[in-house]
Amino acid sequence: MASVIVMPRLSPTMEEGVLSKWTKKVGDKIMPGDVIAEVETDKANMDFPLEDEGVLLKLLVNEGDTIKLGAPVAILGAAGEDPAQAIAEAGAGQPAAAAPAVEAKKPEAAKPEAAKPEAAKADAPVSSLVTKEPAPGATARILPDPMKPAGNGQTGRVKASPLARKVAEAKGVDLHEVEGSGPGGRVVKRDVEAAAATGATTQLRSVPAPSAPSVPFGPVAEDQLVQPSQMRKTIARRLVEAKREVPHIYLTAEATVDRLLELRTEMNDAGGAKISVNDLVVKALALALRRVPDANVSWTAEGIVRHGRVDIGVAVSLPDGLITPVVRAADQKSLGAVATEVKSLAERARAKKLKPEEFSNGTATVSNLGMYGVKEFVAIINPPESVILAVGTTEKRPIVVEKDGRDEVIIARRMTLTLSCDHRVVDGVLGAQLLSEIVKLLEKPMGLVL
């Protein structure tokens, strides 16, 4: 019998997706694992694979259409079969509510565990670190694994109590993200509250960064109303949330980076992975967090999560937004490894090919606008992280140093760093300790190499 294929959840926070391209056409024979379309989610362009076998009988949506989770997109069946009945049953073209009426094909992508072997292989070094346990003695609960399929294991409809739905709406929690503890896995109020408290819905690492738009000269002819992309909507929601919920404090310091830049030149001259200033800052932040573990924390309703891992997000600007891929265990990796990883993550971010686990669950973030000549700026924290380091430009500045008991003006290469801290968990002094460790590591860079 023909069956209706519905839009699957292709990223943890996805609620709808734009079907950007059909990669199969009507009449094509589909084998399990075949990708039938590409879908633009709120995070990335994702492949839409099927785990069923059959012939594509009918496509129900056009390229460019925005489709809600669980809404029918195509009919799969036997060659020559009439798709009409399946369409009728699905109320095809109707919103997601119609989908459960027919046997919905579970898309492969909804089950990350069953990811294709080659994907798993490529992913291995990263994902093996995703589920690292907190340090011994940490009392915090482990944050939910963002790659776990939606609490209800469903794509479209979520089983949730009416009260849970209202609380979710009020708190901005995506019910798909919530693990249900009620009868039959139903999401109830306490689940939504727990999710809101732990920031389980926090996926997009978002910091302000310009997307270097081309500024048109002269007046624009007329105002235009542009529908925001999925990513833009998520950025808007997450940043408003972060600014509203998190009491930010900002600490600014300068570092003399002459020795750092010399070291970088030497390392790059020696061959191997090309290391950027940003890579050095990522590594410095990671090591500093290891030295000041009190700042490697998250505020949650259950208590303060002390992270046992140091995973650093790196803000990457994209043409229509930004994303923050995460370098896992950045404190334990060599500079070369960090550099290679950041490069690969950034490239795949721009190609919208990041996997959800690659931009989730960092413990701190670096946002760098130095290359745009920005002297200094303040960044918005990505909850549930508690700090974000905004890196300004490196330039020659006159500084006063004391030499043989006399003040002397010399020229040094200086970098301005601004640390935003969540004051609920990172007070001024603690933030200052972290920032001073970062400065120390940048000024005496051998610590970054050893």
């Binding site: 109590s161 009416p162 009260l163 849970a164 209202k166 009020a170 109830v188 109020k189």
Partner: protein, 457 residues
């Protein structure tokens, strides 16, 4: 014979747990020292409802003239017959439990059970003989709580057990304690013509209920002819006869005194201390989800865990507990939504928070009320006493608590309990079509009233 589960006690906790366990293919044995079915079936819920039915019917007959029924000659309660019928029903209940055990192939061992340490392992013994069982479930229930200086002797000072099996109807009774048990007996005895005095140390009768309900019910009961003293401490009790109870310097006399000042867990004499099973303030301490005690294979449910001490709570815990033991999906107990009922007339039923509790918790809520005076069904049935009161969350409209005083309230509360458990909000309740005319319509109207949108008031 090795059992998967041995249950100590066959009350509404133990017998329900045993049957559920048997359904889940566990081999079960139940140990009972007294009647099967426990207090609920033999000396509590059921036999008292039999007495109360008689009382209610008498009250209806008294008012039958209002409904156009001429009752000529004298209508008199037959006390002995009433008690006898109640005892018969209790016996039938116990036989029913026995039948259910047989049907579910559950073995029954009569005698006093006790856990003992044998060769390093804790086992259940009955009168010294061990029962081989992988898991032990303690469901020993509760018994009346004594008051300091007031000793239960079974004749002058009685408990609920004697109160439902007296040989002779007392001319007067003093009831100490105005909880559900005290109030139900007060209603029964007042209805059959005994002079009733109720003494409650707290400021209101039915102290766990919402104050509005307590206040309204007190007025109604006083109208029915009983004396109710609240905020009143018993200063002295002389057994007499007659029994003399001094309250606030004043002496009250009666044929008997019913001590109904609460119950306490049966934690003694079952080997808890010897086996190191943790008891906290007179109740067995367990994990609230698995009902496991501090000893791996020993579980406990029901009254012996502490308040609320209610049959249906014990049953629900029994089911959840054995489902866990059998690795089945657990129907977890929602402790926010355990209904409580008092079967006087008008009945009292409630679920969730009282307004005082909601206030104490600092919750933002709306209150809605609907009086049965405004209900067509209640008017037609001449049951206009009472009201429905609901508390709904100010932000999301969820039910925080519901309180009903009225003729059908103990059945109506089921709807409200389900709404709470399912986390329905005012929206779902108001978009439900409620049959007309019913008492239950008052629920919808009370919720609507919380938003100033009730139709019939």
């Amino acid at each position: 014979m090795a059992y998967d589960l041995a249950v100590l006690g066959s009350g509404p906790g133990g017998y329900v747990a045993a049957i559920r366990a048997a359904q889940l293919k566990l081999k079960v044995v139940v140990v009972e020292r007294a009647e099967l079915g426990g207090i609920c079936a033999n000396w509590g819920c059921i036999p008292t409802k039999a007495l109360l039915r008689t009382a209610e019917l008498l009250e209806h007959i008294e008012h039958a003239g209002d409904l156009g029924i001429k009752v000529e000659g004298s209508v008199k309660p037959d006390f002995d017959k009433t008690i006898a019928r109640s005892r018969q029903i209790a016996d039938r209940q116990a036989k029913g439990v026995e039948y259910l055990f047989k049907k579910n192939k559950i073995d029954v061992v009569r005698g006093s059970g006790k856990v003992v340490k044998q060769a390093g392992k804790i086992v259940l013994t009955v009168d010294g003989k061990p029962i081989e069982a992988t898991n032990i479930l303690l469901a020993t229930g509760a018994r009346p709580k004594p008051l300091p200086g007031i000793e239960h002797d079974g004749s002058a000072v009685i408990s609920y057990r004697e109160a439902m099996s007296l040989k002779k109807q007392p001319k007067s009774i003093i009831i100490i304690g105005a909880g559900a048990i005290g109030i139900e007996f007060a209603y029964f005895y007042a209805a059959v013509g005994t002079k009733v005095t109720v003494v409650e140390v707290l400021p209101h009768i039915l102290p766990v209920e919402d104050e509005e309900v307590s206040v309204a019910l007190k007025k109604t009961l006083e109208k029915q002819g009983m004396t109710i003293l609240t905020g009143a401490k018993v200063e002295k009790l002389e057994k007499g006869p007659p029994v003399k109870v001094t309250v606030g310097g004043k002496v009250y006399e009666a044929d008997v005194c019913l001590l109904a000042a609460g119950v306490r867990g049966n934690v003694e004499g079952i080997g808890l201390e010897e086996c190191g099973i943790k008891v906290d303030r007179g109740f067995i301490a367990v994990d609230q989800k698995t009902y496991r005690t501090n000893v791996e294979h020993i579980f406990a449910i029901g009254d012996v865990l502490g308040p609320p001490m209610l049959a249906h709570k014990a049953s629900a815990e029994g089911i959840a507990c054995v489902e866990g033991i059998a690795n089945h999906t657990v129907h977890a107990v929602d402790y926010q939504a355990i209904p409580g009922c008092t079967y006087c007339h008008p009945e009292v039923a409630s679920v969730g928070l009282t307004e005082a509790k909601a206030k104490e918790k600092g919750l933002k809520y709306r209150v809605g009320r609907f009086p049965f005076k405004a209900s067509g069904k209640a008017m037609a049935a001449s049951e206009t006493e009472g009201f429905v009161k609901v508390l709904v969350g100010a932000e999301h409209g969820e039910l925080l608590g519901a309180h009903i005083l009225g003729g059908a309230s103990t059945d109506m509360v089921a709807t409200l309990t389900m709404a709470m458990t399912a986390e329905l909000t005012a929206d779902e309740i108001l978009s439900t079509v409620w049959a007309h005319p019913t008492y239950a319509e008052a629920i919808k109207e009370a919720v609507a009233d919380a938003y100033g949108e009730a139709i019939d008031i």
